[in-house]
């Protein structure tokens, strides 16, 4: 969405409010047009998506291997949603996703062991990663986007080196094995099948938060701050605060994904985290599309299930990913969620000729 759209929207909604008042007093008036975002039925759609999510394991799950794939898809979806908040809402590209993921995993395991259970670990992981993300953003707030991306790559690598050397906390390459099993109201979620529903719940909460933001006036402020920071400041907004908050929320979601990954596995080590995670998350978000809240979810599902479909050509998967990123960047900037728009434009062009 461009700024002019956002401005139009702001304008439109104010005017429609006045019209609504006028029509109340005068008894009649022109029909009121809601801003475009209210025309979409986001809440029913979210409910539908989650309902479909509840049924999916019946079709695709069953044995531990396929349940594991489903869990992986959900963790990736949460991670990608976190990146989407940083990049799509906050406007800041970050390479530190893999480090936030690792930090979330380690902090969560530690927190669960010391403060009683999975939930405190999850909350602690989110708080810590939000703090790291916020601090990174604050320290490098003056940098141009590209240099900020380089800075996040350096911060991510530094965190990785810290985790490698701090073996008393992380176990280094030997890994962590005593990991608390999540439980809800005393109900142990020991199997992948049960963990799936826990993750679906967490993803649902995060998606609900995202939808709530998209439908709120804060989204207009955020778009203005992201795309035209100095102008937004003259309009009385606080661009740095808004983008900082988006970045912190995104980092916290990445940390939550790390925490969920950690507690769904009986063992993990430093080998699980590498900068390649950042690239595959970028691929997920690009593939799913930057224009839709569900882009990261679609992208995560595709990226996790693609190697399954291409089982015979597994060794070409990285090459394929890279080619796919290029193809998307060059030809389909909107990703899967944007294909509808591109197809619509092609049809229009064909008609006009």
């Amino acid at each position: 969405m461009s700024v002019t759209d956002a401005a139009k929207e702001t304008h439109g909604s104010r005017r429609s409010q006045w019209r609504r008042l006028d029509s109340l007093f005068a008894g009649s008036g022109p029909t009121i047009l809601a801003p475009p975002v209210y025309r979409g039925r986001q809440w029913p759609f979210l409910a539908l998506v989650l309902a479909v999510g509840c049924v999916v394991p019946l079709a695709f799950g069953g044995d531990p291997y396929h349940d594991g794939l489903l869990i992986q898809a959900l963790t990736s979806a949460i991670l990608a949603l976190g990146f989407f908040w940083c990049f799509g809402f906050g406007g800041q590209f970050t390479f530190a996703v893999f480090a936030m993921y690792a930090a979330g995993a380690y902090v969560s395991v530690w927190g669960a062991a010391h403060f009683g259970g999975f939930w405190s670990g999850l909350v602690l992981a989110m708080v810590v990663t939000a703090a790291i993300g916020g601090l990174t953003r604050l320290v490098f707030v003056k940098l141009a986007p590209i240099y900020f991306a380089i800075a996040t790559l350096a911060v991510g690598e530094l965190l990785f080196i810290l985790f490698r050397q701090w073996t008393s906390f992380t176990g280094g390459y030997n890994g962590v094995s005593s990991i608390a099993v999540p439980s809800v109201f005393g109900f142990r979620l020991g199997t992948p099948h049960r963990l799936y529903y826990l993750m679906l719940g967490v993803l649902g909460v995060f998606l609900a938060a995202t939808v709530a933001l998209v439908r709120s006036p804060a989204m207009r402020d955020l778009i203005m701050s992201r795309d035209h920071g100095p102008v937004a400041a003259t309009a009385g907004l606080r661009p740095r605060h808004l983008t900082l908050i988006a970045f912190m929320v995104g980092s916290a979601m990445q940390g939550a994904a790390g925490s969920l990954y950690a507690h769904s596995s009986s063992f993990f080590s430093l080998e699980s985290f590498s900068v390649d995670i950042s690239l595959s998350v970028l691929l997920m978000v690009l593939l799913g599309g930057m224009d839709s809240v569900y882009g990261p979810v679609i992208g995560a599902a595709v990226v996790v299930y693609l190697p399954e479909l291409l089982r015979s050509a597994q060794k070409y998967s990285d090459l394929f990913y890279a080619g796919l990123v290029l193809l998307i960047v060059v030809a389909f900037p909107g990703g899967v969620a944007g294909v509808r728009g591109i197809a619509g434009r092609w049809i229009q062009r064909a008609r006009s000729h």
């Binding site: 590209f93 320290v139 490098f140 003056k142 940098l143 986007p145 590209i146 240099y147 991306a149 380089i150 800075a151 790559l153 350096a154 911060v155 690598e157 530094l158 080196i161 050397q165 900068v275 690239l279 970028l282 690009l286 060794k315 070409y316 990285d318 090459l319 990913y321 890279a322 080619g323 990123v325 290029l326 960047v329 060059v330 900037p333």
Partner: protein, 290 residues
Amino acid sequence: MHLFIPILMSGLTQGSVYALIALGIVLLQNATGVINFAQGDLMTLGAYVGFWWIVQRGGGQVLMYLVMLIALFAAGVVLERVGYAPLRRRPPLVIVISTFALGLAIRSALILWQGTGPRNLPSPFGIRTVSVLGAAVPEQSVLTIGITIVVGAVLFVFFQRSAPGRQVRALAADRETAILQGIRVKRLSPLVFGLSSALAGLAGVLVGPELGVSPGLGFGLLLSAFAAVILGGERLGGVALSAVLVAVAQALATAYVSPNFSDAYPFLILVLVLAVRPQGLVRMVTGVRY
């Protein structure tokens, strides 16, 4: 003190390699405005081409440099055609994403070609050493430093004396004015992409005998080169100087502070410089002169 000279020499060697990568990055950035995240993987490609020519084909060392330079120049031109030309008018971040993807493509293609295992690229001098101020220094180090100095001098002459060099400098100084003056950016950019990836390949061939050749070789060094680029304030001379500074600081800190964090020091320098002086240190000096 008896350790100081070897540490300094290894720092200088490493610095030469950083400088070659960083010069490629800055050259490209000045001419096209692109920050190339595939630079590290181009360097790996160079090392593998060298390995292929010497070990698998049994070719000669001197001819290897020629083959490698031609191959990498061609790779750079392909990179420009695929990853930059279609995206010229898009935001810089999109081009960064595309170079990042191309880097991954190169890395995975190399794994398909040569496997993931580390390879050993023989040095033209074997493991012979020379004595520098009483310290034994591998001849490969001397070669690395020497070639870097020669390349630096050639680049300096190229930028001062030749027409394409002057055009690149004009683009760096003021892109829009340069284009208004009729500089053909579209013709210049394949040349600069080729040149910069040839520099990366040279770095790969020079560092290969010391570090061993593996698919992750270049990406690990890329961030250190970025440290040099940012510290040097995006000027060729400043970047070469700060590449050496970064590497010497890294070597000294590894020896005297802690060897465990050896790979962290360049990143630490990068983070500190970006946080404190985003415009680089060298620009501070030139700022006084104006």
